[in-house]
């Protein structure tokens, strides 16, 4: 059996029993299959829910499975709820309303809190600062998050209370039991630091707004977002930063929460711009929740990605080949265009709004770079080359074509079920793959490119592969179209 509830415990059933024994004891026992995956998922959701108290919430998986819990670092957060006791009280009450039996404890170290939540006095959940050592002394050693074998060994040695471990010499203890016991003890007593890794990285810029009572109107949510944006944007301004990403989360009274996010291609701290970016997705936020009865209690706005804010950067003149070339290398950073790109990316998806640039490469697939604008400033483009003409459209990958005619001089090629009679052809232009980029991998074949015009004047870019030993093979591909 993985676990029992309080009612079962009262009837004398413990998790160490076999199911048959328990059924013998209580014939009408209700049994449900253990679902560790579901448990972990629920814990994860609860950790998200705890974002209403602190951004620093972590899931503690626990061994054996099912004994896990949540860790919250509430340093500096408790005063928002009227003190530590009020925070814990509020949390347990709300969890109870959501149908979870929960015990909470607050201590100087995660280890001590873990021990006190499971083995301590539920009536007094808060260990005073510095009082950990005394409080833990009377608890069983199992409260130290030890493996069950370690607990058994300690039991055989007569070490049943944590207090009995305090004065033992370190070296023999470690020699006998391994380093785990000592480490857990040190962690609980704050002799060894144990950082909590939040489930999600805590955003350096976040603000929360709690409503006196749950609200259900979209306009209220919008107003809350506006206030949070104004708050955080002034903080960004003071720090000379701009937000590259904004996440807005609403926590409903029923414990569910939803997040919408938007990205900015250029660091922004303009509340109106960020509002415009988030506004389209606000419609997806349903303040009343799936059941339609709930309301929003807490709204949290976070800027997980911030960057240095450049105020109105101008194009920098570029010098090339002795003459002053004023090319707009930085026009993508025009604020209005950046705002437009953000709006487009918000609806069409960030990957669909891109800046073009050239790369120093002859290989057709590599020569063009398509930079996702939301990823930051586009790379500097290489100088355009004065070489053979390139097609206006390059196929995503070369498509094989059937060819008839003399070797190297196709008379007809058939592409996508339609035959083109070649009227004129120009080539070859031999392009070899950049072998130094594909070291170890099978390099692509060298290609002989031809420009071909059919009888109607349509122009195509075809190539045939060149085998290093046997020369050109009559395997033709169509790779691009000219206009």
């Amino acid at each position: 059996m993985a676990g029992v509830n309080q009612a079962a415990r009262a009837l004398g059933i413990t998790p160490v029993m076999a199911l048959a024994d328990a059924r013998a004891l209580v014939p009408g026992l209700g049994v449900a299959e253990a679902d560790p995956v579901g448990d972990a998922k629920t814990l994860g959701q609860l950790a998200g829910w705890c974002g209403r108290y602190t951004p620093w919430a972590a899931v503690e998986a626990g061994t054996p499975p099912g004994s896990g819990g949540l860790w919250l670092d509430v340093t500096g957060c408790d005063h928002l709820f009227g003190g530590e006791a009020a925070l814990l009280d509020d949390m347990v009450r709300r969890l109870h309303r959501l149908g979870f039996a929960a015990r909470a404890a607050l201590a100087d170290t995660p280890g001590a809190a873990w021990a006190w939540a499971r083995f301590g006095d539920p009536g007094d959940p808060i260990l005073p600062p510095g009082g950990v050592k005394d409080a833990l002394a009377d608890l069983p050693v199992a409260a130290l998050r030890l493996a069950s074998e370690d607990v058994d060994t300690l039991d055989r040695l007569g070490l049943r209370r944590i207090g009995t471990l305090y004065d033992l010499p370190r070296a023999p203890l470690t020699a006998r039991l391994g380093s785990d016991v000592r480490r857990r003890l040190d962690q609980a007593l704050d002799a060894l630091a144990e950082p909590i890794s939040p489930r999600l990285p805590a955003a350096p810029f976040s603000a929360r707004l709690a409503f006196p009572e749950p609200v259900g109107l979209p306009t209220d949510i919008e107003a809350a977002l506006e206030r949070l944006l104004a708050m955080l944007c002034s903080r960004l301004e003071a720090a000379h930063l701009g937000a590259r990403r904004a996440e807005f989360t609403i926590h409903r009274a029923d414990g569910s929460f939803d997040t919408v996010a938007a990205g900015a291609s250029r660091p922004s701290r303009d509340p109106r711009h960020l509002m415009r970016l988030l506004a389209p997705s606000l419609e997806r936020l349903d303040p009343t929740g799936p059941d339609g009865h709930s309301g929003v209690e807490v709204a949290v706005l976070a800027f997980p990605i911030v960057a240095a804010f450049e105020a109105g950067q101008r194009a920098i003149p570029r010098f090339s080949a002795g003459k002053l070339a004023l090319t707009p290398r930085t026009t993508q950073r025009d604020p209005e265009i950046a705002a437009l790109a953000d709006r487009l990316a918000g609806r069409l998806g960030p990957a669909n709004v891109r800046a073009l640039s050239l790369r120093e490469s002859h290989w057709p697939e590599r020569a063009a770079r398509r930079h996702v604008l939301l990823d930051g400033p586009p790379p500097i483009s290489a100088e355009p080359r004065h070489g053979p003409l390139r097609p206006l459209r390059l196929l995503v990958r070369p498509e094989p074509v059937e060819v008839t005619g003399a070797p190297g001089r196709p008379a007809v090629f058939r592409w996508r079920c339609f035959a083109h009679k070649v009227a004129r052809a120009e080539g070859p232009e031999r392009i070899a793959p950049e072998w130094w980029l594909t070291l170890g991998a099978r390099p692509a074949a060298t290609r002989d490119y031809y420009r071909m015009e059919d009888r109607a004047g349509r122009r195509f870019w075809l190539f045939r592969e060149v085998d290093g030993e046997n020369g050109p093979a009559e395997r033709w591909f169509l790779h691009g179209l000219f206009g």
């Binding site: 993508q332 437009l340 459209r393 420009r451």
Partner: protein
């Protein structure tokens, strides 16, 4: 018996009325007014056919003839895009443009051949026509852009009218690419062009003959059969155009062929009917 002087007077009066009415319509439509900014294409043969002496900025232009295998329409649009991006000389090195397409969009190394710096082009992929139209409308309202080229949107008349109004307010010039449908949907576009690939000539002989049959084996400069199907205040016309990608120079030779023939030609879309087009290719 009519008095010749009276007729002249009446003619003059009606001409005046006509001019007044035209000016009033232009004011209503916000095209060709005193503040109308015009961008000449630098091709006398085409500029003289346009009543403004060039392409009016902040106006919707439609280019039809988009086909799977024929990028002539896209190329002509790219030429216009290059001209428009450079139109504002006060802005160093050209202004940014947006290219909306249902696929990956243009291949950056080809753009310098159209007088476009790849760094000034932002591509937007919109797979659905409604998304493309929305993106186009958003872009047209962004005055920092010189022009927007859109493949994919299928605006109805009211939507094209809205685009035209937004463009006249912001000064951004939208170029709308359309397949060669028959009949073409009605639209509020100021000009409507049709472009189709034509056989190239190894050396440019446009000035002498405009003959598109001469030639040898090598591929010459891109040639298009260009038709101005509709133009507010102007008349339809046909050209044989040649684009020299090395000098970024467009040449055009006026064709006297009647526009009906070209329109009929446009209906002949080989990519729609593979069996028939095989014959055409043969």
């Amino acid at each position: 018996m009519r008095h010749p002087g009276l007729i002249r007077q009446r003619d003059k009066a009606s001409a005046d009325t006509l001019a007044r009415l035209r000016a009033r319509i232009a004011r209503i439509e916000r095209i060709g007014g005193a503040q109308q900014v015009v961008c000449p294409l630098g091709v006398p043969a085409i500029d003289e056919a346009l009543p403004w002496g060039g392409l009016p900025l902040g106006a919707l232009h439609e280019i039809t003839g988009v086909a799977e295998r024929d990028l002539a329409a896209q190329s002509f649009a790219a030429v216009l895009l290059g001209v428009l991006a450079q139109a504002d000389r006060g802005h160093h090195g050209g202004r940014p443009v947006l290219w909306i397409a249902p696929d990956e969009g243009p291949y950056a190394p080809a753009l310098p051949g159209f007088g476009l710096d790849p760094a000034q082009v932002t591509t937007v992929r919109a797979r659905r026509p409604t998304d493309a139209l929305w993106a186009l409308e958003e872009a047209v309202r962004c005055p920092s852009l010189a022009a927007v080229l859109a493949e994919g949107p299928r605006p109805d008349f009211a939507q094209s009218r809205r685009l035209q109004l937004a463009a006249s307010e912001s000064g951004v010039t939208p170029l709308l690419l359309q397949p060669a449908l028959d009949p073409l949907p009605s639209s509020a576009a100021v000009t409507r062009w049709q472009v189709k690939a034509a056989k190239s000539a190894p050396e440019s002989q446009m000035e002498e003959s405009g003959d598109e049959t001469a030639g040898s084996e090598t591929v010459g400069y891109a040639r298009w059969r260009l038709a101005l199907l509709r133009c507010r205040g102007g008349r339809p016309r046909n050209w044989l155009a040649e684009w020299n990608h090395e000098t970024s120079c467009l040449k055009a030779h006026r064709l006297e062929a009647d526009s009906l023939a070209v329109a009929a030609d446009a209906r002949d879309r080989p990519d729609r009917a593979p069996t028939r087009s095989t014959c055409e290719a043969a």
